[in-house]
Structures are given as C-alpha cells and as structure tokens.
C-alpha cells in the first residue's frame, strides 16, 4: 500500500479544490453563507444524525439496572420486572424505562477488564485503552467532526454540566474545534452575550471595522486558514443570535415536570433542546454511582431520578420523531462487582457488565450477549469498548473504518483492530 498524505493525495487536492470553488462562488464577505463546501452524498445522509450519551459517573451497577439476577447469591434485594418487550426483564428500579424498552437495546456482555475510574472512563469515551504514547479523541469530538457541517455556527460537541465552563481538552488530534464546550443547565453558554456596556450598534460597528481591514488584506492573499478565521467571527455572531437554544428555562414548565424538576431532569431537557437544534453530540453526566457502601440504597435513590428523566427523554424523542435519527447511549466507566461486600456495597467491576442503547441505527428491542447465572462472567457474545465505539458511530451512519485527514496526516476514525457489533445495527 502506498502513502496518501497531503503531498500527493488526490483526496486532499480535491478537498482543496472544493474549498477554492467555494471562494470562487462566494465572492468576498458577501459570500459568507455561500462558503458551505459541496457535501458528498454520504455526508448529506448522515447530516441529520445526532448522539446523546448519558454517563452514569462512578460506575452504575448492571445488577440494579440492565442485567438483574434476582434470587441469586449476587442478585441483591431487588426484583426483575417485565418490560414492553416480551421476554426482556430489567431491575424493578426502572419501571418507567421498562415501558420504553421497545425503543431500546441492551448489551449485557461488556468486558473491558478495567477497574480504574479514569482509565475505564477513557476507554469507554474514546474506544481505546489509554496509552502514554498517544491521546485519542472523545466520542463527542469524533461525532462532531464526522457529523457537523463546517459552516454551522453551533459547536458540535457539548457537555451539559451544572454551570457554563471552559472548553475541555478532549479532542486530541482533531483539534480544539471539536473539544467539548461546557454548557450549564444554569448559565447557558459562556461568552455568548455582549459584555456589559456594549451596545448592539457599537458591536456592529466594530465588526464592520474588522471586516473592512480584512477585506483589504484579502486582496493581497487569501487561504483556507484566512477563511476559517474570518468565518469563526461570523459564526460567533450567528451563535449569539441563537443563544437561547442553550437556555433550558425557555422550555415550558410542563416539560420540566415531565423530565423531573431536578438537575438531571433539566440537563436531559437541555440536551434534548440542543439536539433539536442540530447539535451533533451532547453528553450528560449523572453522579455518583461509586457505591462501595450501601449500593442498594444509593441505587434506589439515583435510579429514581434517572428513570424519570431517561424515560421522558426517550418518550419525548420518539414523540418528536427524532429517535430514529438520534442515538442514545447510557454508559459508565465500568459495572459493579456481583459479589456484595460487607458494607452492602459493590466494588469496581469491568469484567462483565452492561450498557443500554436506543435510537438511530440500533435494533429495537434487541439484547446482545449474556452473563452467567451469578453475573460473574460473560457467557455469550463478549464485546469491549472498541466494539462499542465502532457501533455508536455506525449507528449514526459514520464509516468507523475510515480515516480523518488532519494537517496532512491520515488517522483512523476508530481503532482499526476492532469492529462494530454488526447484529445490533439495522
């Protein structure tokens, strides 16, 4: 096989050509809107797809959620209840979620063999084991890069948190454009409003001055980088005009009631609001599931919140017709030990645990894999973080076996040593 780096890659020169074609068609500043590159059919097809990942931080228990083992030594006190899919039972802590099971799929045979919080989280979020040799981008960064149109003013990768924060460094080689922007259920998006004392008129005037200086410079030299830079300012202006999409308080109070009048509820609602506005990836985190003590009491409490918000989200997405184009993921850094410790807790467990998926290209009502009677081992169709990562991407129409071209370097989109769970994809 031969090299196809920037030096002589036909793909690269075509991309450059398309870009320059954009210039030719667009003229100078008047043409900012015409800057959109001609999208390929594949890109168009996947343009409408989105992903929401709900991260149960600390490591939720598979036994108290998706893979209950009632009446076994390891099963704990809770029952298993039937769901809207005959034959599938989940923990009784998730009664509302059980009603949504016909939209969902479960994977009960995850083995990541990683019991460290940070390393486990990294594996689940990037699809790779952490290596000091190289850093890998977050699923959100990959999704944003693959699904977001370059001309969109909206950030493609958002983490919903309690308050607005700085951008995180989680995009590795994909660059800061795809790092997660932290948006708060309170406070919306940082720097998206004019500073105090600045009037709209003065704001327009300063941008007019900026454009005018630029226009003169562009008569001397124009490159892909100069366009990206000027475009970022125009996008910022557009984003400021649309800043209300980051404001969950714009949602009706009935919606807040439906999702739950608590932080997780608001975060899920904000997430849906963002997805509705064509943001490619949103992550919501729910803390804290690290239940070394009192596993059952904690799960009883936490799952109550989760059950309401999550089932409302699935129901709402389905109602709005968005579920077929939105992948919903519920993951953790790992599961919890089947063995119950002396403090009625469960400890870290990466060997045999579960995640849940719904929407987009995921088979409805499917269950992949199984664990043994006590849940101590995967007994069927073992999968790992690499398989899951490929599966998420393929579910939203991204060819996860392809490559990104970044700064003249070709980089595989997902771990080339792994592949998706084919039977889970429609």
């Amino acid at each position: 096989m031969k090299c196809n780096y920037s030096c002589n890659s036909p793909d690269h020169s075509i991309a450059r050509r398309q870009f320059m074609g954009g210039i030719a068609a667009g003229g100078l500043f008047a043409g900012m809107g015409a800057f959109i590159r001609p999208a390929t059919a594949a890109q168009l097809q996947s343009q409408q797809k989105r992903v929401i990942s709900i991260f149960l931080s600390g490591g939720s228990s598979q036994l108290e959620t998706w893979d209950p083992k009632p009446k076994t030594e390891t099963g704990g006190p809770f029952r298993a209840i039937p769901t809207s899919v005959p034959g599938i039972h989940i923990s009784e802590l998730l009664p509302k979620t059980a009603e949504q099971m016909h939209h969902m799929a479960l994977i009960r045979s995850v083995n990541t063999s990683q019991n460290d919080h940070g390393l486990g989280r990294y594996m689940m979020e990037t699809g790779r084991a952490k290596s000091p040799a190289a850093d890998y981008p977050h699923l959100g960064a990959v999704t944003a890069k693959a699904l977001t149109d370059d001309s969109s003013p909206l950030p493609g990768h958002i983490h919903v948190s309690s308050g607005a924060g700085n951008r995180r460094n989680d995009s590795a080689y994909l660059g800061p454009k795809y790092s997660s922007v932290v948006v708060g259920a309170k406070g919306g998006l940082r720097n998206s409003a004019l500073p105090g004392g600045m009037t709209a008129t003065v704001d327009e005037q300063r941008h007019a001055l900026r454009r005018s200086v630029n226009e003169r410079f562009l008569q001397r030299r124009r490159t892909a980088e100069t366009d990206a830079y000027t475009q970022s300012y125009e996008q910022a202006i557009q984003l400021m005009q649309r800043r209300s999409i980051f404001d969950v308080e714009q949602e009706p109070s009935t919606a807040i009631e439906r999702y739950g009048d608590h932080e997780l509820g608001r975060q899920c609602l904000l997430a849906r609001r963002l997805l509705e506005n064509d943001i490619s990836f949103v992550q919501v985190s729910h803390s804290n599931y690290d239940t070394h003590n009192e596993n059952f009491n904690f799960h009883l409490e936490q799952m109550g919140e989760f059950d309401q918000s999550f089932s409302a989200l699935i129901d709402d997405l389905a109602e709005k017709g968005m579920l077929d184009s939105t992948l919903v993921i519920v993951m953790s850094e790992f599961g919890r030990t089947p063995r119950i410790n002396r403090y009625y807790g469960r400890d870290h467990w990466g060997k045999s645990w579960s995640i849940a998926l719904a929407g987009a290209g995921i088979q409805k009502g499917a269950v992949i894999g199984a664990t043994n009677k006590d849940g101590t081992e995967v007994s069927d169709r073992e999968v790992d973080h690499g398989n899951l990562f490929h599966t998420y991407l393929q579910a939203v129409g991204v060819d996860s076996t392809g490559e990104f071209e970044i700064g003249g370097r070709n980089i595989p989109i997902a771990d080339p040593a792994a592949g998706p769970i084919e039977e889970l994809l429609t």
């Binding site: 040799a133 460094n169 998206s192």
Partner: protein, 979 residues
C-alpha cells in the same frame, strides 16, 4: 557475481583505491568534498536553490515594515512596539536588516522565546507533571543562553535520568511520559528523527513503505529497559531507572503466523550498537537491588543519546534543520515535519540535505542557522504572489527537466548496479574473512587437540614417574631385603622356610626390576609423544600465525570494501535525492503548465465566444432590417389591398348602376318601339313624337352608358394593376419571410453556440481559479512567495500586550508589587536589627540589580498570564501536533465578549488607548494605532475610514469608538497571521 574470489582481489583493490577518495567523508564533510561553491554563504545558497528550481519571477522582497514585524515575531516571539518600529524604519543603513537579525538573536528575549519554541516542539504542550514546566523551560533557556549546540541539548535530554541535579529538568521528556517505552519510542522518533512510526508498533506501517515494525523495535530496544522509578523515601520523587537485561520480541498483528522476530538496538540510519559488552549478571550493575533505582554499567539509553545525536545521524540533523526551517518559514521542506519518508519527499530534497549538512558543519549552532535563514531573500519575501510565467518558459523548463530526469534515472540505475556489485564484493570480502576465521578456528582446535594429547602424555608421564619412583623405592627395599635374606640363608643353612622366603624375595625383586624397566620404557615413549605433540602444535601455531596475518589483510579488505560500499551508497543516494529534487521541480512545472493550459482553454473559449457573439450581432442586425423591411411591405400590402377592395367595391357598384341603366335603356327602347308601333298604327304624331323622345332618350342614355362602360373598363384595368401590385408584394413578402426564417434559425443557432461558449467559459474560469489557487499554494509551499503563518498562542498573547501597551501597565503593577513585598521584608528586617550601611555604597547597586530582576520577573509573570489565556483557547490539544491551525467559535466569542479581553482594552497610563485618547488629530491617531497594532503606516483610505468613524461618533463616545477601532485591528487577519 564473482565466483572466483581470489582472482578478483586485484580488481577489488583497484576499485577500492578509486573509492577511497570519497569513502572517508562523513555525512557532514560531504559538502566540502562535493561542492565546488562551498565557500558561498549558506543564505545565498538557499536562495539559489529556491530560485533556480522555480520557473518565472519570484515574489518581491517585503517592505521594511513587514520585515521588522516578521523577524520580531519569529526570533523573539512578539510584534515590535511602535517605538521599535520607528527606530528601525528611521535607520538609514544598508545593513539594517542584518543588524536587526543580530540584535534580536543576541537579545535575552530570543532565549525566552526559543525556550518556548523548543518546549512546544519536544513536549507539544503535554505536561505529565513529573517535572515542573517552569524548570524545564529554565533548563532550555539556560542552554540557549550558554549557546549550547543543539545536539548537545538533545543529548542531555536523551541521556537524562533525573539523578543529576543540574540537568534534572532535562529528564522531563522521559519522566513526563512516565518512561513508558512505547511512548518514548514514538516521541523520540517523531521529535528527534522526524518519523512518526507509531503505526509500526503492531505491524509494518500500512500506508508508508519506509516505516517498518523492525525499525520501531530497533528504537524500542534502546528504551525498553528503562522504567519510571519513584523514590518511596523521598515523596515519590521520579527518576529514570534502567535494567541491564531485556531484549525485544515482536510479531505483526497482520501476520501472526510468521512468528516472532527480534532486533538489536538500531536507528534508522543503520546506526547500531556494535560494541555492547557482554557482562555477567554479577557485574552488570552499578546499582541494583530491591527498592533502589537500578543503574546498569552499560546503559542502552545513554547509547541512544550518543548515537542519535552523532554527526553521522543524518535523520537527526535533517529533522532539526527541517523543524527550524518550518519555524521560520511557516512550513517544513518536509511537511508535516514528523513524516519524513520516501513518498512524502521534501519540496527541495537537495536543499534539505544540504541544510542538514550545513547545520552539522556549524556544530549545531541554532543561532547561526536562524541567522542564515533570516538573511535569505527567501525568508524576506512578500506575501504578494508574483506574476505567472509565460508558457514557453514553462515548456522549455519542462523538457529540460525531463531530459535531466532521464539522465539521473540512468545514473541511478548505474549507481544501483555499482552499489549491488560493491555490496556483493563486501559480502565476498566478509565471506573470505569468515573462511579465514574458520580456518583459524580449525587450527586452534587442532592445536588444542595436540595440547590435549601432550597434556594426556604429560599427565601419564608424571603419574608414571611417581609410580616409577615408588617402584624404584620398593625395588630397592625388596632387593636389599632379598640380599639380606640371601645372606641369612647362607648363614642359616637348610632353613627351608628361610630359603623359600629368600627365593620369593628374589623373585619379587626381579619382577619389580622388570616393572621398573618397563615403566622406564613407557616413560620414554610418553616423552617422545609429548615431544611430537609439541612439535605438531608448534607447526600448527606457525600456520595459525600465517592465517592471522592473512586475516588482517582480509579484515582490511572488508573495511575497505565497506568504505567503498558506503561511498557508492552515498553516490547512489545522491542520485536518488537528485532524482527526487528534479521530480518535485517537474511536479511544480506541471502545475504551472496546468494553469497555463487552463488559461489557454479559457482564452480559446473566450475567443470563440467573441466570434460567435459578433456573428450573432450581424445576424441580429440583418434580422432586424429584414423584419423592418417586411413590416413595411406588409403595411404597403395592407394599403394596396385596401385600395383594391375600395376600387373593386366602387367598380362593382358602377357595374350594377350600368346594368340598371342598360335595363332602363332597354325598357325605354321597348317602350319607344311599342309607342312607335302604336303611333304607326294610330299614326299619332304625338305618339310619334313621344316615341322619338323616348328613342332619343334611350340613345342619350346609351351613350351615357357607353361612357360609363368605358370608364368601368378603365377602372378594371386599374384594379388589375392593383392586383398585380398585390401579387408582387405577396411574392416579395414570401421571399422576405423565408429569409427571416433562415435568419431566425441562424440567430437561435448562434445564441445556442454563445450559451455553450459561455458555459465553457464559466467552467474554464473555475478551472483557472483552481489552477491559480493550486499554483499560489504551490508557490507558498515552495517558498517563492511568503506563506501566511498563524501566530502561536504565545505570540498572540505577547503581541497583544505590546500592541496595546499593556506592558506599561504591567510594569507599573510589577513595580508596585515589588515595592510592597520589599517594604514588608524591610520592615521585618528592621524589627530584627538595624540595616547595616555599606560604606562603599555597593549594596545599593546590588539592591538596584535585585530590584530590577525582581520587577522584571513580576512583569514577565503578568505577560505569561496573558499568554496562558491564549494557549488555553488557541492551542491544539496537548500532546498532539501543534502546527495544525484551527479557528473556533469560542475563540471568536472570547475575543468579542470575554471580560478579560475587555479589561485589556481599558486605557491606563502608558497604554496605547491612553495615548490615542490624548491625541486630538485624527490623522495621528490613525498612524499611531496602525503602527502599534499592524506595524505599518495606514493608507489614505484607512486614515479616512478612521477619521470618518470618529467623526460619526459623539465626543463623549470617543473612548468606546477608539476601543472599537483597536478591537477591529486586533481581531483582523493581518494581526492573526505573521505576514
């Protein structure tokens, strides 16, 4: 193939003699040996290489304004202040540019800036926090201040284990990566050899032919014995430990059946560890044991530091030359800078090779290298693209390049053949050496055999001697006993028992004597054997000695053959590099030709369109005339037709009248006749008269009718005339109409042709636009026009400080902070004891020095805080390549709305805004702001823009107005890019 080695020794020696001229040159010395014009300064040779490989004019030299901005940014990491710009512009001196380069390279700001450049290059803003980043930068800065050669800095970093206090920070490269051998292998290869061989960890690189798994593990083998040691007794202080054992084994994930391979420590240049001592486990360590940092006697990591930075490591020198070039020029000759391989060749392969050699020859002097680059015209070119050369010129160059490529191709084939031959000769020489070695070994074995034999005999000899001595003693005592017994027998006669005993004794004595004799014979034999074995061994030794002399000659031949091979290898490599160079030039020429062709096609379409358009115009005019004419004819026809109709109507009416008249005449005549008949019958005169009257009347009427008939006949003729006019008109109109139809068809056809031509023009215009942008990119990539280079985050932050005059504010704050803390300290000191006064006043000098350095540290901290804000927003994520540009919305949101940005634009004493606010003359304001922010004078238009804007705002809004102007300039492309 050379089947008979001996007979070809002579030929080989001859070849070796020829090759000896070049074979001793190292990579670094090659330049001097091969280049006749080696005396020309490096910067001129760079310009030659760039200009000669380009067809047509290159970009102009940039203005003094652009130069001062560019060199400040590249060499000291910030734009010049307005005062510094003025100083440079006002200097009237032909050497002012080189003087400025010198001044900047000598400044302490250069050391500060280049410490950042090296840090970002080696760590890519990754902080593993094992070594404090500030200490690491201080280490780099100290090295730069000491003017350490780059290879020495690299060697310190690669040999560092954190144990030596002085360069402990140098161990950051290893320690921050947790001394993980794969992380180190990847980053040592990337940062120091320019090769990202990460993919080759699990298999040969799928996309790059040159990157082999064995190469990865060759580097890995230097590093996999190293590990992170954290001292439990000292707060887990980290060090690099190293074991004395551990090899590498690897298999390809693509081909696991092929089994495991192994490799010795080896670098891509073929530099390998060939002197690794084999030490017993007992003596392998300097320090070894439980809970201590292991230190081997022979450290592979130290060997890596030594080998990798060696003058003969061309990849090392090439990598850093390319990276420094990229720092100055905005792009590497090889780009991306960590992908040196044969399918991603340099834009100017020969130049890159030459730069690497020059860098080695300068003893890795970073400043000298930068000085040379900054002095080139290439560095000083404008960003305005030069005109496109004529096609003839391009074609001429293309055919010349094609010829050269063919020639080099041939030379390449030849040099490869030679290389293969010398490879074979080397192999044969090695084989010959091996044969001799085998013979020597055989001789040694034979000698050993003889020695063993002699040893055996010797042993037998000594044991038998012992036996003999014992026997002799026994024989003597038995003989004397026998003699005594004999005497006794003679004395005591007939004692049977005694006599028997005597006989027995005698018999024993005889037997023993016989044994002694026997032994003596055997001893003689052994002695003989020993002698002959020794003789044989000596003979063998002489033979071995001869073989050893032979071996020395053979070994010499091997080393000469190796030298010759190296020389031919170098010659071949030269051809390969030359070939690549020419191929790259050809590719550039092809792009220019593509542009020319696209332009020709466009012009062809344009000419055709013009012709079609003019033909169309003519046809349209003819059509218009014809139409007009036809319309006239139609009008005439219409009138004529009307006339005809009128005439015909009138005629018809007249005809009817005439008919009536004629009927009347007939009636009158009938009545006249009847009357006449009656008159005749009646002979009535009156009736006769009446009949006559009637007849007369009829005649009169008939005459009238005749006249009328004549008239009608005349009018009939007229109508006929009108009719024929109509017929004529009809004919003409029909002709005109068919003419018009033809014209219409023609016009439609021409219109279609024109539309097609215009579509073709539009398409060609896109092709020309593409080809133009390709060409401009290519020229920028080939350095004939300056490339636009985004400022690094640090450059942005610091430039913002110097553009806005924030440094003045920071200086004041730093002074205040220092005074405050100093006062606190003095107060504390006063509490303790009165301050001693130095009679010589030296202490005040020392105080002043401390004060200044204290304040400048506080100032620097403030500037770095600003830099840090930009790093967090504008830098690529830590640990990934930092030369990838990205513009994000949150950067723009920050610039537009963030409170910090707003704060930096507030006026205070000494800042730009304060100066501007104090100015009353709008023209001066425009000049001051452009010079401070964009390092140039404003154009008339720009002055007017500012004047108009300020005039449009009310007096009390002057400050926000000035802030808006300043913001517009700071967020402009011209500020964002180094141009």
């Amino acid at each position: 193939m050379r089947p008979n080695w001996q007979s070809n020794l002579g030929a080989l020696s001859l070849c070796l003699a020829l090759a000896a001229i070049t074979c001793r040159n190292s990579f670094a010395e090659e330049r001097a040996a091969n280049e006749p014009s080696a005396q020309r300064p490096l910067h001129e040779r760079i310009d030659d290489a760039i200009e000669q490989s380009h067809v047509g004019p290159v970009a102009d030299i940039a203005t003094d304004y652009e130069f001062v901005r560019r060199s400040y940014l590249d060499l000291i990491g910030r734009i010049p202040s307005a005062a510094e710009v003025r100083e440079f512009i006002d200097t009237d001196n032909s050497s002012k540019r080189s003087d400025l380069i010198e001044k900047l390279l000598d400044s302490s700001e250069f050391n500060r800036h280049f410490a950042i450049v090296l840090d970002v290059m080696l760590m890519e803003r990754f902080d593993g926090k094992k070594i404090d980043s500030k200490q690491w930068r201080r280490f780099l800065r100290n090295e730069l201040e000491k003017k350490s050669p780059y290879n020495e800095i690299a060697r310190k970093i690669l040999a560092a284990d954190g144990a030596d206090a002085a360069p402990r920070a140098a161990a950051k490269f290893y320690l921050d990566r947790a001394v993980e051998p794969h992380a180190l292998t990847r980053n040592v290869s990337r940062m120091f050899l320019g090769r990202d061989i990460q993919c080759a960890q699990c298999h040969d690189h799928p996309l790059v032919d040159d990157y082999l798994q064995s190469e990865y593990y060759g580097v890995f083998a230097f590093l996999n014995r190293s590990y992170l040691y954290e001292d439990a007794k000292d707060n887990k202080k980290p060090y690099v430990g190293e074991k004395a054992e551990g090899g590498v084994e690897f298999e390809s994930v693509f081909d696991p059946d092929a089994g495991k391979s192994t490799t010795a420590p080896m670098l891509i240049d073929g530099l390998a560890l060939d002197n690794e001592p084999v030490l017993d486990a007992s003596e392998a360590y300097i320090v070894h044991g439980k809970d201590v940092r292991s230190v081997p006697k022979f450290s592979r990591r130290e060997q890596l530091a030594r080998l990798l930075t060696h003058d003969s490591s061309s990849a090392f020198a090439t990598n850093i030359a390319n990276r420094l070039w990229a720092h100055m020029m905005g792009r590497g000759l090889v780009h991306p800078v960590d992908l040196h391989h044969s399918d991603n060749p340099a834009t100017h392969p020969e130049l890159l090779k030459f730069l690497a050699q020059a860098f080695i020859a300068s003893e890795f002097d970073i400043r000298e290298f930068l000085r040379q680059i900054a002095s080139t015209k290439t560095y000083q070119r404008s960003i305005d693209t030069p005109p496109i050369p004529q096609l003839e010129l391009v074609e001429e160059r293309r055919s010349s390049l094609l010829d050269q490529i063919v020639a080099v191709d041939n030379a390449k084939v030849k040099s490869l053949d030679e290389l293969i031959e010398f490879n074979q000769q080397l192999q044969q020489a090695r084989k010959h050496l091996a044969t001799i070695d085998d013979k020597i070994t055989t001789k040694q074995n034979e000698i050993a055999e003889q020695n063993k034999k002699a040893d055996g005999d010797n042993k037998a000899l000594s044991s038998k001697r012992k036996q003999l001595a014992e026997k002799k003693t026994a024989a003597a005592s038995v003989a004397s006993a026998a003699a005594e017994a004999k005497k006794a027998t003679e004395a005591v006669k007939n004692d049977k028992a005694l006599s028997n005993a005597a006989q027995t004794l005698q018999a024993r004595a005889d037997a023993i004597a016989k044994q002694v004799a026997n032994l003596e014979t055997q001893l003689e034999q052994h002695a003989k054997n020993i002698q002959s074995a020794n003789d044989a061994a000596n003979l063998l030794r002489r033979q071995k000695q001869r073989l050893i002399s032979e071996r020395m000659i053979a070994a010499d031949l091997v080393s000469e053959a190796r030298g010759a091979r190296r020389a031919f290898q170098r010659r071949h490599e030269e051809n390969v590099v030359r070939h690549r160079d020419l191929t790259q030039q050809l590719a550039a020429v092809e792009t220019t030709a593509r542009f020319q062709n696209a332009k020709d096609v466009l012009e062809g379409h344009q000419t055709k369109a013009a012709n079609v358009a003019s033909a169309l115009e003519v046809s349209r005019q003819t059509r218009a005339a014809t139409r007009q004419n036809l319309a006239g004819l139609m009008e005439t026809l219409k009138q004529t037709q009307r006339k005809y109709d009128t005439q015909l109507a009138q005629l018809t009416a007249s005809g009817a009248e005439l008919d009536q008249k004629r009927e009347l005449i007939d009636t009158i005549r009938e009545s006249a006749a009847t009357t006449r008949e009656a008159a005749d019958q009646l002979q009535d005169e009156a009736l006769h008269n009446a009949a006559q009257t009637l007849s007369n009347r009829a005649d009169q009427l008939a005459s009238d009718a005749q006249a009328e008939a004549d008239n009608i006949s005349e009018r009939q003729q007229e109508i006929d005339k009108t009719q024929s006019a109509i017929d004529n008109l009809d004919l003409t109109i029909m002709q005109d109409k068919s003419e018009l139809t033809e014209l219409e068809t023609k016009v439609t056809q021409l219109e279609a042709e024109l539309a097609a031509a215009q579509t073709a023009i539009a398409e060609s215009e896109v092709a020309v636009t593409n080809a133009t942008s390709d060409l401009k990119e290519l020229w920028a990539d080939r350095f004939v026009v300056r490339s636009l280079k985004p400022l690094s985050p640090e450059q942005m932050g610091r430039s913002l400080v110097f553009a806005t005059g924030l440094d003045a504010r920071f200086q004041r704050e730093a002074e205040a902070e220092w005074e405050k803390s100093n006062k606190e300290q003095q107060d504390k000191a006063k509490e303790g004891k009165a301050i001693e006064k130095d009679p010589n006043g030296k202490s005040s000098d020392v105080d002043e020095l401390a004060r200044r350095s204290g304040i400048s540290a506080l100032l620097e901290k403030r500037i770095q805080d600003v830099e840090q804000v930009f790093v967090s927003l504008y830098a690529a994520p830590p640990g990934s390549p930092q030369d990838v540009f990205s513009a994000t919305v949150d950067q723009a949101l920050f610039a537009a709305n963030d409170g910090r940005m707003r704060g930096w634009l507030n006026p205070s004493e000494g800042t730009l805004l304060k100066r501007l606010r104090d100015m009353t003359d709008d023209d001066s304001i425009a000049h001051e702001i452009y010079l401070s922010v964009l390092t140039r004078k404003p154009s008339e238009m720009e002055i007017k823009e500012i004047t108009d804007y300020l005039a449009s705002r009310e007096k009390k809004e002057r400050l926000p107005a000035l802030q808006a102007i300043l913001w517009g300039l700071l967020t402009s492309l011209e500020f964002r890019f180094n141009h």
